[in-house]
Amino acid sequence: MLSCLMNNKWIILFILPCFVFANEQKDLSFAGFASQGISYTSDNQFFDEEDSTSLNMTILALQANYLFNDKIRLSGQVMYRNWGKIESARIDFLVADYQFINQQDYNIGFRLGRIKSDLGVFNSTRDIPSARPSIFLPQSVYQDTLRDTTTSYDGISLYGNQVFELGRLNWTLAYGRYPVSSDLSESILGKELGGDISTENNTQINTTWESISGSWTLSFGYENPQAFAKPIFDIGDPIAMEAGDIKFDRYIFSHQYFAELWDFTFEFIYQDTEIKGFDLFVPYLPSFIQQPEFPEVTTDSLVNAGFYGQWRYFLKDNLTLMIRYGRYFTDIDDKDGSLYQQETGMPAFSRYSFDLSAGLKWKISPKWQINLEGHFFEGTAAISPTIKLDHSDNDEKYWQLWSMQISYSF
């Protein structure tokens, strides 16, 4: 029964009408934002395929919060996102929230529906200009290529908080499935391979410990998303793949420290990736012609790892300076990619990326905000699909990304 409940969009269809049957009280509130940006990429195809300068940076979101009754709160958000290569409109979250235990020292509740993933410090607000530190999140931990497997899931979560003498503990246990779009296919398989990606149920655990004064936090999160790919190919395609699946065991460790004029964030991701299947072949090749040899994709012990440290300084009440440095490795046992280059002939720098960034966030008014930032990259790992056969698009080891964004929120 549980799996039937999990495995579909019924939850969403169930919650949606609840908004319509609104009670007479004025317990409905709205919020939202619109943002537009421009970015310049010196080399490589991180953002827009067509141009190095791109205006394809629009996000619109509208959300509603509604008290269904004294116990159940409903909230939902729709989001339109035109971000470089990807244009999408989706239900970002749609959730029924019921906090059923309320005591002086602890609270427990559950959520049902499409729930934002709260893994790491910035996951749940990765698209929200007013709640993220920069236009582009640190790619070493929040890779845009895998965003579908980490944004929001259809399922259920149990959450709570408890106050102890030395601090407070917030925790979440969740079970659900990440709805994925076709963009994930390209992110995992690359452009050369066609495939239909679907995901399986995923378990998520999140705990945050906050010091009693609130000046620092330590968090630990785990989840194990899984994606299956069904091949799609045609006569004349130069290359195709067998069905395959990818399993991630994702661990994120986060630390934040808050001072009056600055704050510091450190996060570390450890992602055990298991890839099965995906044998490559040339489709419809007559049997008397021998299949060419393709690189082996299958792996049962690929460990991706990344970290970043970020320092923000409040120059003024409305002006924040951000400096960040992060590193990401596709294979922790082959950090410089040399082994990979030897075995596959593909560039070593496609297996790591280092990112030095600096940015400014200027709150012109409570509703308007401008962001400016620059990123200096070495390596292309954070922007490469998981299974990548052709690196000719991303052939520059050193590259930069410059971006500006204006946003309005209410």
């Binding site: 959300q63 909230s75 958000q77 509740g109 709260d118 007013s130 003498e165 407070r168 609130g214």
Partner: protein, 144 residues
């Protein structure tokens, strides 16, 4: 110096400390329907950080705040909750835009805030100066 001599100084010292501590006076107010005369700092924090949505009785908490730029709000966040205003703002941005909590209701002045708390069952708010108003109950804060 014997004890007799330093006693007045000691008393003066203690008084000065308590004056420093009393130099701000944020009062926590709730609607009279909320059956509570005392609340712990940590529980108040749970409520104002969006982690507790209902009173222990099971009734809904209606959260009221003053605008972020209001001096009393900043005092409340810094002194009572022990957080920097930017921490408070960021928390709420995250809670609201990820659907984890409802946006707190806002009143523009302390007078107005006391008024809505007085007429909204389950409401909680804060003001700097005691206002005598029917329907409002003052809640004492205590350390656990």
């Amino acid at each position: 110096m014997n004890l007799k001599q330093c006693a007045p100084q000691l008393i003066a010292f203690v008084i000065s400390i308590s004056i420093v501590q009393q130099s701000y006076a944020i009062e926590i107010i709730v609607n009279k329907s909320v059956n509570l005369s005392k609340i712990s700092y940590q529980q108040l924090k749970s409520i104002y950080l969006g982690q507790q949505s209902h009173w222990p009785s099971g009734n809904l908490i209606k959260l009221y705040k003053l605008p972020s730029s209001h001096q009393t709000h900043q005092l409340f966040v810094k002194k009572t909750l022990g957080l920097y205003p930017y921490q408070f703002n960021r928390r709420w941005q995250k809670l609201v835009f990820s659907g984890f909590a409802a946006k707190p209701n806002e009143a523009f002045t302390e007078q107005e805030l006391a008024k809505v708390v007085a007429k909204t069952p389950g409401a909680i708010g804060y003001i700097e100066n005691k206002i005598t108003m029917k329907g409002v109950r003052y809640v004492e804060l205590f350390d656990e």
